[in-house]
Symmetry: C2
Subunit: 240 residues, 2 copies
């Protein structure tokens, strides 16, 4: 706390040492968001970052420049951003924290899966790596969080397989639910009520035209769901 003024660039002296940036909460959130966007597109657009973080696009421009200066991402004006190796490492560290915390809250403290996201969102910035590792150990080093998202390892590896969306299945195809969006408690409660949880088997029966509702089957039961929902459920195709 005495050394809050530690942001001067500091020429030479040490051999660069740009890895030792201490990441504030907001910075970690930017990196997480950018990592997430990059999984789909190849460069993250200012607007999209702004939307995920619920802040004004103008704010993103400024922050992104600072992060680029710190070597966490590559940035060319008007061209979007890409994480550097250091940035990706930092993002994965935060994502690991988030997912371990979610898993721990559910498995060790009896939280319901629909509410852990918010709590994890705050704790991920405060927990030490040591704490995260202890939590992971305590619940048996799970490989995914309660919503099916893969947990990066201590050394930053993560299962990056790209699953398809339930909305992309063709009628008649059967698939295993692997992952669902973790943010919206309402959605999660609804999914649970349908039994549409990770590891459930789902079959797409038919799809109404013009982005209409999908008819699906989950363990015998038949439901109609909208495309918005079906886009938030990731699946892995099962052999017929």
């Amino acid at each position: 706390m005495a050394e809050k003024r530690a942001s001067a660039p500091r020429q030479s002296e040490t051999p660069v040492r740009e890895t030792a940036v201490d990441l504030t909460g907001p910075v970690e959130d930017y990196l997480k968001a950018i990592y997430d966007i990059e999984r789909d597109q190849q460069a993250a657009a200012t607007n999209e970052i702004a939307q995920r973080l619920q802040i004004a696009p103008a704010s993103v421009s400024g922050m992104v420049r600072r992060l680029a200066e710190q070597g966490l991402l590559e940035y060319e004006r008007y061209k979007g951003v890409k994480l550097t190796a250091a940035g990706r490492r930092a993002a994965l560290r935060t994502i690991r924290r988030h997912r371990v915390i979610e898993a721990y809250l559910v498995q060790a403290l009896g939280y319901s899966w629909d509410v852990v996201h918010e709590e994890a969102e705050r704790l991920e910035h405060a927990a030490s790596d040591d704490l995260i590792d202890r939590m992971a150990t305590a619940i048996g080093e799970p490989s995914t969080d309660p919503h099916g998202a893969p947990i990066p390892t201590r050394d930053g590896r993560v299962d990056e397989r790209r699953h398809r969306r339930l909305s992309e299945l063709r009628p008649g195809q059967r698939a295993l639910v692997t992952r669902v969006g973790d943010e919206d408690p309402e959605l999660l409660r609804y999914l649970a009520s349908l039994g549409l949880l990770p590891n459930a088997t789902v079959t797409l029966d038919e799809r109404a035209p013009f982005e209409g509702p999908l008819t699906i089957r989950v363990e015998q039961a038949r439901y109609q769901v909208g495309t918005a929902l079906a886009e938030r459920v990731l699946v892995e195709l099962l052999p017929d």
Copy 2:
């Protein structure tokens, strides 16, 4: 995040509503420190607050005025500060968080008692009340943290008995260790090596003049300790 600008005073409209201040990390730290100081003195001095928080006294003056405006403390220039009921409530809430977290880390995650303070210091600002309650339940609602400090209840009650310091014993007196300072890992490890833990029985054998070392006995063993150490160990006199 969209309503960051929620700090305008807002006249009338609602019947005052000054309880709904959302406490930032620094604010919680101020309140904790002031609560702590008030336990000894009757009003907290600017300098002392500054020292505990490791910031400049000038910074305290400004902050303290803001806290007074928010109804968290009473403040008269040059006279020190006192917590209001609301301020005390907020302080105790933070202290409860801190101590429950410390106890949980030790009892549920196998942390050693000398290192939990730092971790708790960060987590206490991020954990929800619900999480704290779950942690407390999981470890059987302990009444003290690992260093013997009493844990305030959900509704803000706390055992405020004033224990005496080991350094205040008279030669020949026997006492029960109730509590030790929680901040310094070095000190804690040393205390552990002497067996000077909460619930240990200690006897003061003699005290060298001029603030000299004290000779104590802990379970048969005899040690010489300095007054600085003896001041950080709180005890409860045992009947002879």
